[in-house]
């Protein structure tokens, strides 16, 4: 299920409802419920806070942490140490507990997020190992020393008459804080970026998301919340031990709750936390406790097998089924009642190409400065200077230099393995060249992270489309509009995304998932994502491969119209007919070197080009 694209103004009714529920719960102790009820709800809120904090990192960005025991534990011990040895007032220690965990999280992230392979289960194991290292250190140093820390003498802040009610209220506040942050994040730019990172981190970076710093933010917020929850819990248990605090229970339960509840929605982990805590609490005492545990294990298995998106995902799917489709997509552009999947995209594309609204696609300055045909004399504004790229000693690019002139379509061709895709990856910033420069308006982008290239106005498409699988078509296009050169706010980015989708003829599929598109439509989705940032240069990597002749014709028309609107294009293609039809100049790569460049019709006659393509008489 795509996450709801509602990032415009939030319905005020929901905020009011949320505040009302919060106030009602906050007033609950006035009704003097039985003490066990308050401590039960305390545990519910504690786990809601912890599971939600986990989801902000792991559910949103896809980095599965098994280290929440560490973040929780650092919070517990920070508070325990400060209130006993430091004799600080309890409430003052809570921000410090959060801060200590936040610093730990950011510290871990600063090292780990630089290592590309450390995702998924490896990140999980790493964070688990960090938990055990911290536990060992705490156990063997004065932080704990072995016997544990007693907090029985610590005075309880009097928010309510009884300590149980006070703790209840604090847990409610912490849980509400976590939920509010998770809610806020889900619909903000940061949240969009994290979801994109979870689906395809490289593509997110290439579209302008500074992935490293966003992941640091996520782990910092997540760890900080867990730390505050830990600090609070220290007072609840009053006797803190290493084996209880840093146990495997915390990470496993938060994962369990979040996975069960659904970890790509802000309220999912809370649902899971409520269900699991209730199950454990319902089976108190002796053999029933064991039955409760076994039931939790069984539930986890069944959820993974049958509800891989958790409760919240299923609720979302159910709601989506019951809402009329048009209301969701906001697209009434298919007046002929064709089912969108049957709609001939080619025809739509042709219609789109003919539409005059195309000028709005580009910055007025660019549109005015170039009128398509009159670009020959212009200075190169994208220049590759002696680019070398070696993978483990194998030279993929061996001193490639080329210039792209403002407003032109430069063709880049060459046999398979000649280095075309590597060059695109270097220009778009995904790969850092072994040597050489990529100059855009004189600024060298070669060694900068990929998101800087996107911000400078370079956009690319992928030969094999790489949409964010769990974002809707509209959100896929809105993401680069938020993070590429334009840096739009979410609402404006959605508007911009609709324009780009309209241009490529996919507006009626805006609410669908990319997986429901056919190959041709996915290629046009790639194009829409590139156009959404109002790029100065677009790198089109084999947009035509796999299309039928009719689709190729419509794609050629579309590429031409993009150029005519003022966007410079680097056109990588195998289809020679299209290359000759579209390009102003042509560069031929073979075995990592430029072997010819110039006017297309001349270049294809050069003997070394014919040899590279047709092959010599080898035998």
């Amino acid at each position: 299920m795509p996450v709801r694209p509602a990032s415009g103004p939030r319905p005020p009714g929901r905020v009011v409802a949320a505040v009302a529920v919060f106030l009602a719960l906050a007033c609950l102790p006035l009704a003097q419920p039985p003490a066990f009820f308050e401590s039960f709800l305390y545990l519910v809120f504690l786990w809601v806070a912890l599971a939600t904090s986990w989801t902000i990192l792991s559910g949103y960005s896809g980095y599965f942490s098994f280290g929440h025991g560490a973040f929780f534990g650092v919070g517990v011990y920070t508070t325990a140490t400060l209130v006993t040895a430091g004799e600080m007032p309890f409430l003052a220690t809570l921000p410090l507990a959060g801060l200590a965990s936040l610093l730990l999280g950011v510290g871990i992230g600063a090292v780990v997020f630089r290592v590309r392979r450390l995702r998924g289960e490896l990140f999980a194991l790493l964070t688990l190992a960090i938990t055990f290292v911290l536990a060992t250190i705490a156990l063997n140093t004065p932080i704990d020393g072995g016997p544990g820390v007693f907090l029985s003498g610590v005075s309880m802040p009097r928010l309510y008459a009884t300590p149980a009610s006070t703790l209840y209220l604090m847990a409610l506040l912490v849980a509400a804080l976590a939920l509010a942050i998770a809610w806020q994040l889900q619909y903000s730019r940061v949240g969009r970026a994290l979801f994109a990172i979870a689906d395809d981190e490289d593509v997110a970076e290439v579209m302008g998301v500074p992935t490293f710093s966003y992941k640091l933010r996520a782990i910092g917020i997540s760890a900080g919340l867990a730390g505050v929850a830990g600090g609070m819990h220290a007072l609840f248990v009053t006797y803190v031990t290493v084996s209880e605090t840093f146990s495997i229970t915390v990470p496993l339960y938060v994962v369990l709750m979040s996975v069960m509840g659904g970890m790509r929605r802000w309220y999912g982990p809370a649902l899971g936390a409520i269900v699991v805590t209730a199950l454990t609490y319902a089976f108190v005492g002796g053999e029933w406790a064991l039955a409760g545990r076994a039931l939790i294990g069984l539930t986890l298995i069944l959820v993974i097998l049958f509800l891989p998106q958790g409760f919240a995902g299923s609720i979302g799917a159910w709601r989506a089924r019951w809402q009329p489709r048009a209301a969701r997509s906001g697209a009434q552009l298919t007046p002929h009642g064709l089912s969108p999947s049957e709609a001939p995209a080619t025809a739509q594309a042709e219609a789109a190409v003919a539409r005059p609204s195309i000028l709005s696609l580009n910055p007025p300055a660019a549109a005015a400065s170039s009128s398509g045909a009159l670009h020959a004399a212009e200075a190169p504004f994208l220049r590759c200077e002696a680019i070398h790229m070696a993978f483990k000693g194998v030279k993929a690019l061996d001193g490639v230099s080329l210039e792209v002139h403002s407003g032109e379509i430069l063709g880049l061709v060459g046999p398979n393995g000649s280095g075309k895709s590597t060059l695109v990856n270097v220009i778009s910033g995904l790969l850092q060249p072994t040597a050489g420069q990529v100059l855009l308006d004189g600024e060298d982008l070669a060694l900068l992270p990929a998101h800087r290239a996107a911000r400078a106005g370079i956009a690319r498409t992928y030969q094999i489309p790489r949409p964010f699988a769990r974002l809707s078509v509209l959100e896929n296009v809105a993401l680069p509009a938020m993070f590429g050169g334009l840096q739009l706010a979410p609402a404006a980015a959605l508007e911009r995304a609709r324009e780009a989708l309209d241009f490529v003829g996919l507006l009626d599929r805006a609410a669908d998932l990319p997986a429901t598109l056919n190959l041709h439509q996915r290629k046009f989705l790639e194009l829409a994502r590139a156009l959404a940032i109002r790029p100065r240069v677009v790198l089109l990597d084999e947009v035509l491969a796999g299309l039928t002749p009719a689709e190729i014709d419509s794609a050629i028309a579309m590429v031409r119209s993009i150029r005519d609107a003022g966007t410079t294009i680097l056109f990588i293609e195998h289809n020679m007919r299209a290359v000759l039809a579209l390009t102003d100049r042509l560069v031929v790569l073979n075995q990592g070197r430029v072997i010819a460049h110039g006017r297309p019709a001349d270049v294809v006659r050069e003997p070394q080009v014919i040899e590279a393509y047709l092959g010599t008489a080898a035998c």
Binding site: F64, V111, V115, L122, L125, A129, V133, I296
Partner: protein, 283 residues
């Protein structure tokens, strides 16, 4: 500084605990490396087998040979069933971790329900029997464990390296489509491997029960250190696993001898962190 004798004794006990880590980790390493399944329930299998051994040999007094002969096929079938579940629902790597965690909780609850959370101890003649070699005491039960581990690890290595089935498993792990084009049926081999992995877990369970007192809470205690050895040794690499396990075992034992026993976990986990950060390609 402790005496040379004490250090030698520590190293020896480190080798023995390393052998147990290797025997426990073998099934995890094989399934993770060759089937991309992270089977946390392997620990549960080990302990379930341990308790069954305790019950049948320690309490009911059955013949140990008979119990081992029954346990191995029983757990083989369990492993096959687990793999069937993963194949049927096409569970991915992370999903397998969560599903087997759920299974671990269920088995742990079952163990607690039958045998309670108390420590159980099986008295056998082996438990206390040791031989004195010079100044060093060599416990007999652990020596048998070491020999069995060596035999099983070398057998697993030879199986993967020198038989057609083993080569097919490795080939299929690298590229199932091309392997299929050469006649390899990944599905059937996966059942076989998962069964074998679970059977080695049952074997480890025998030694868990014989060597020391057993309690359900130990299940998670050994998890970290065994996973560290599995990753350090290289997934799907039995000899590497054995080397890494013994290295970790010795490092732990020396840490215990030179500092306090409670510092021991620091060694394996720091090692794991360094490996993951510096050489993530190993996994």
């Amino acid at each position: 500084m402790p005496s040379a004798t004490l250090l030698a004794q520590s190293v020896l006990s480190g080798v023995f605990s390393g052998a147990l880590y290797a025997l426990m980790g073998l099934g995890i390493s094989l399934a993770w490396g060759l089937l991309r399944v992270i089977n946390l329930a392997h620990f549960a299998f080990v302990f379930l087998a341990g308790y069954l051994v305790y019950q049948c040999i320690g309490v009911s007094g059955w013949s140990p040979t008979l119990v081992v002969l029954l346990a191995l096929p029983l757990f083989f079938v369990a492993g096959v069933a687990l793999q069937w579940l993963f194949a049927r629902f096409s569970v991915d790597e992370f999903g397998s971790l969560l599903v087997t965690f759920g299974l671990t909780i269920m088995i742990e609850s079952l163990i607690q329900w039958i045998w309670t959370a108390d420590v159980r101890r099986m008295e056998t003649p082996l438990s206390t029997w040791s031989v004195k070699l010079g100044p060093i005491y060599v416990p007999v039960a652990e020596s048998i464990l070491l020999l069995v581990t060596l035999a099983v690890v070398v057998a697993a290595w030879a199986w993967l390296r020198h038989t057609y089935v083993g080569k097919a498993l490795r080939a299929s792990a690298q590229n199932p489509v091309i392997a299929a084009a050469f006649g390899v049926s990944h599905r059937r081999l996966a059942f076989l491997l998962s069964g074998v992995a679970a059977a080695t877990g049952a074997l480890a369970g025998v030694f868990v029960a014989v060597g020391s007192p057993i309690s359900p809470s130990q299940m998670f205690g050994s998890l970290g250190v065994v996973l560290a050895a599995v990753i350090l040794g290289g997934l799907g690499n039995p000899l590497g696993l054995l080397a890494a396990s013994i290295l970790i075992g010795i490092a732990e034992a020396l840490t215990m001898a030179l500092t306090a026993p409670s510092w021991a976990p620091l060694v394996s986990f720091s090692l794991l962190i360094f490996i993951l950060v510096l050489r993530p390609d190993r996994v």
